[in-house]
C-alpha cells in the first residue's frame, strides 16, 4: 500500500512540476481566441461597434464587454458564427430588426469634393474632383463614415432595396 501511495504521489509531483514549468516557459502571449475572432470580422475598421477597430472589438468581445451581436456589417450570420465559436447561447431574434442600410449619393447636391472616398474603409465610393461621386452598393458596408464627412449632406443612408434576387419567403404565420 505504501508503494502505491508513494508512486502515485511521486507521479503527481512530477506531473505538477512539468505543468508548472510548461505554464512558465510555454506561455502564450496573446489570447488565441482574440486572434480567432479577429479573423472572422470584416476587418474594415469601420467603427460601427463603437470600438476603434476590429482588433479592439475582438479583444472586447473576448473579455465579455461586447455582445456577439456587436458587428452590424457582419449581421446575423457573423453573430451566429461568433456565438458558436465562443460557445454562447444568444437570442438572435432581435438582430435583424436593425435593417442594414447602405449609403447612396444624391446627385443633385454632390459637389465632387472627394472627401467621402478618402474615409471609405472599403473604397466603395468612386469619383474624381468636381465630378459627381457614386457608391458601389455591393462594396458598401454601411458604416456611415462618408455621411458624417459630407459637407452638403448629399450622402445619405438608405435601406437595402428588395429585388427578385434577394426576396425571401416569409416565415409561415402560426394560427394561434
Amino acid at each position: 500500500m505504501i508503494t502505491a501511495i508513494a508512486s502515485l504521489a511521486t507521479l503527481g509531483l512530477v506531473l505538477g512540476l512539468l505543468l508548472g514549468l510548461a505554464a512558465r516557459y510555454l506561455k502564450v502571449e496573446t489570447d488565441p481566441v482574440v486572434a480567432e475572432i479577429e479573423a472572422l470580422l470584416p476587418g474594415s475598421q469601420c467603427g460601427q461597434c463603437g470600438q476603434a477597430g476590429c482588433g479592439q472589438a475582438a479583444a472586447a468581445l473576448a473579455a465579455g464587454e461586447l455582445p456577439v451581436t456587436f458587428c452590424p456589417p457582419g449581421g446575423r450570420s457573423l453573430a451566429e458564427t461568433l456565438a458558436s465559436l465562443l460557445g454562447l447561447e444568444v437570442d438572435l431574434s432581435g438582430v435583424e430588426d436593425t435593417q442594414p442600410m447602405l449609403a447612396r449619393v444624391k446627385e443633385a447636391t454632390c459637389i465632387g469634393c472627394t472627401r467621402c472616398f478618402k474615409v471609405c474603409p472599403t473604397d466603395a465610393i468612386i469619383g474624381a474632383p468636381k465630378q459627381i461621386h457614386a457608391v458601389l452598393q455591393d462594396a458598401c458596408t454601411g458604416c456611415g463614415n462618408c455621411v458624417e464627412i459630407c459637407p452638403t449632406e448629399c450622402l445619405q443612408m438608405f435601406p437595402i432595396e428588395v429585388t427578385l434576387g434577394t426576396w425571401r419567403w416569409p416565415k409561415p404565420r402560426l394560427a394561434a
Binding site: G74, G75, P121, V162, W167, K171
Partner: protein, 496 residues
C-alpha cells in the same frame, strides 16, 4: 420496359379532363407585349434595342450575358415603347426589367433574321457545338418551369459521358395539360427535336417518360418514334412528383441521383417535351423561342383551354379569351397547384417557363387553420426525397437552421407532398422555403463579409503603396535639390 419506383409521393386529384380534351388554340395577338429580360435562371439579358425602335418578329431584343443566361426575342413585329420596370410573375409582386412592345398586328418577320446563320439546315451534318450554340441563341430554356438555359445543359454532355436522355412528359401537376396536348398534336416535331438533342449529346438512347393517365399522348408518341430504334416510350405510373427530375430518373432508370449531385454526374440528362419541341423549331425552321403552350384552367375559369401564347402576353388577356371568371377566383397561380407561384394580380406577363394559369375557386382551395403536430409520420411517408419533414419544420420554426440542414433541408425539392398529406394542415413546405431563403441570406452575408475583408485589405495595400511612392518622390526631390545646390556652389559664375 421495366419501371422502377421512387419512394413517397402523393396522388392528388388530377382535374385534367376539362382542358385535356381541348386542342391547342392560337391566342389572338394582344396590342401590347411585356417581355421580361429575365425569364430564365442566371444573369438577365441585356437590351439591344432602344425605345421607339421598330422591330421585326423574331428580332433579338436582348442578348445573353455571362455563362448562364439566355437571349430574348421579339414575339411579334411592332414598336418598342418602353424599357423599364414591370410586375414579374412572382408571388412577391416585385418588378423585373421589361421591354414593352406595341404590336402592329402584321407579324412581319422581315429579312432581319434572329441569328446570322440561322437558316434551316440539316442538324445531323453540323458539329454538336454549333447545334448547341444555335439552341442557346434561340433563347431556349427548360420549358417545364425550371427555365434553366437548354444550351448550358446540353454542354454538360461535353464534360461527362451522357448515356441516356430522358424526355419528361410526366406532367404530374393537376390541371396542367399543355405537354399532353403537345405530345398528342405535335408528336413528330417533338420526336425530331429529341433526335437533334441525341445528336448534340451523343447519347445512346432517349427514353420518353409519360404518365399512364395520358393514353392518347402515349399512343401518338409511340407512333411517331416507330422508325427510330434508339427512342423508347416508357409508361410511368401517375404519381406526384413524377415530373421532378430526380424522381423521374429513378422511375425510369432505377438509379438514384446522390444528394448534392446533378443528373449529369450519373450520365443522364432530362429535358421537357416543350423544350424539345422548341429545339425542333429553332433548328429545322430557324425560329427562336417566341411563344409557348399554356393551359388555362381551374374551377374559376369559365372555359379551360390550351393556348399557344406569344411570350409577354398578360395573364388577363388569356383569362379573357377563356371567357373570364365564372366566379371570383380564390387564388390565381402560374404553374400547377402543387408547386405553382401565387400571382399578385392578373397583369403579369407569360414567360418562357409558364406552363399554366390556374384560377382556383373557393371550393378547390384548402384553408383550414394549422393544428398541432400529432407526429403521425404521414409527411415522412409522403416525402419523395426520404426526408423527415416532421423533424425539420419545428427546427426551422425555432431558427435552428444548422440542425435542419443535418436533417437534409438541402435535399428538399419543395414539392409540397408533405403539406398535402398533413392532417394537421401544418404549412410544412412553406417552412422549408423560408428555411432555404434564410440559408441563401446566410450565404450572401458570408460572401459580403469576405468581400469586405478583401476590399479593406486592398485599401490598406493601396494606402501603403501610396505612402511609399510619396516617400520615394520626396527623397528624390530632396536629392535633386541637393545636387542643384551643390552645382550652384561649384559654379557660381553661371548665375552671374
Amino acid at each position: 420496359m421495366k419501371v422502377f419506383r421512387f419512394r413517397g409521393g402523393v396522388h392528388p386529384e388530377s382535374h385534367k379532363t376539362p382542358s385535356a380534351t381541348k386542342a391547342i388554340e392560337d391566342l389572338p395577338l394582344p396590342e401590347r407585349l411585356y417581355v421580361p429580360l429575365q425569364q430564365h435562371i442566371g444573369a438577365p439579358a441585356k437590351p439591344e434595342v432602344a425605345i421607339g425602335q421598330r422591330v421585326y418578329k423574331g428580332q433579338l431584343l436582348a442578348h445573353s450575358q455571362g455563362m448562364i443566361s439566355a437571349p430574348v426575342h421579339a414575339p411579334s413585329s411592332g414598336t418598342i415603347v418602353d424599357i423599364g420596370e414591370f410586375t414579374a410573375p412572382h408571388p412577391s409582386g416585385l418588378w423585373v426589367r421589361t421591354i414593352t412592345l406595341e404590336t402592329d398586328g402584321k407579324n412581319r418577320c422581315g429579312k432581319n433574321r434572329w441569328h446570322e446563320s440561322a437558316k434551316p439546315t440539316d442538324p445531323f451534318k453540323m458539329a454538336q457545338q454549333e447545334v448547341a450554340a444555335r439552341i442557346g441563341a434561340a433563347g431556349i430554356v427548360g420549358m417545364g418551369g425550371a427555365t434553366f438555359p437548354a444550351a448550358v445543359k446540353l454542354a454538360l454532355g461535353k464534360e461527362r459521358r451522357i448515356h441516356t436522355l430522358i424526355i419528361n412528359g410526366g406532367e404530374c401537376e393537376p390541371y396542367l395539360t399543355c405537354d399532353d396536348r403537345l405530345m398528342r398534336e405535335r408528336a413528330h416535331q417533338a420526336v425530331d427535336g429529341i433526335r437533334i438533342m441525341l445528336h448534340v449529346l451523343q447519347a445512346d438512347q432517349a427514353l420518353i417518360a409519360i404518365e399512364d393517365n395520358k393514353p392518347a399522348a402515349i399512343a401518338s408518341m409511340r407512333a411517331a418514334r416507330r422508325r427510330h430504334a434508339n427512342l423508347h416510350v416508357v409508361v410511368v405510373p401517375s404519381r406526384y412528383p413524377m415530373g421532378s427530375e430526380k424522381q423521374m430518373i429513378q422511375s425510369v432508370t432505377g438509379i438514384e441521383v446522390p444528394a448534392g449531385q446533378r443528373s449529369a454526374d450519373i450520365g443522364v440528362i432530362v429535358h421537357n417535351v416543350g423544350t424539345v419541341y422548341a429545339v425542333h423549331r429553332a433548328i429545322r425552321l430557324g425560329r427562336p423561342l417566341l411563344s409557348r403552350v399554356v393551359t388555362v384552367g381551374g374551377g374559376a375559369v369559365r372555359e379551360p383551354k390550351n393556348l399557344e401564347v406569344p411570350l409577354g402576353t398578360l395573364v388577363e388577356d388569356l383569362l379573357e379569351f377563356c371567357g373570364g371568371y365564372s366566379e371570383p377566383p380564390a387564388r390565381l397561380l402560374m404553374g400547377g397547384p402543387m408547386m405553382g407561384q401565387v400571382l399578385p394580380h392578373s397583369r403579369v406577363p407569360i414567360v418562357k417557363g409558364s406552363n399554366g394559369v390556374i384560377a382556383l375557386s373557393t371550393a378547390e382551395i384548402r384553408s383550414r387553420p394549422a393544428m398541432p403536430c400529432i407526429r403521425c409520420g404521414r409527411c415522412v411517408a409522403a416525402c419523395p426525397c426520404g426526408l423527415m419533414p416532421v423533424e425539420m419544420a419545428p427546427r426551422i420554426r425555432n431558427g435552428d437552421l444548422d440542425s435542419a440542414m443535418e436533417y437534409g433541408l438541402g435535399d428538399c425539392i419543395s414539392c409540397g407532398s408533405c403539406s398535402y398529406v398533413c392532417p394537421s394542415n401544418i404549412p410544412l413546405v412553406q417552412y422549408f422555403n423560408y428555411g432555404k431563403g434564410m440559408l441563401a441570406d446566410r450565404r450572401e452575408a458570408q460572401r459580403k463579409t469576405e468581400a469586405t475583408r478583401r476590399l479593406a485589405q486592398e485599401r490598406r495595400n493601396r494606402l501603403e503603396r501610396e505612402a511609399r511612392a510619396r516617400a520615394k518622390a520626396a527623397a528624390q526631390r530632396k536629392a535633386e535639390k541637393a545636387t542643384d545646390e551643390a552645382r550652384e556652389k561649384n559654379s557660381p559664375e553661371v548665375s552671374v
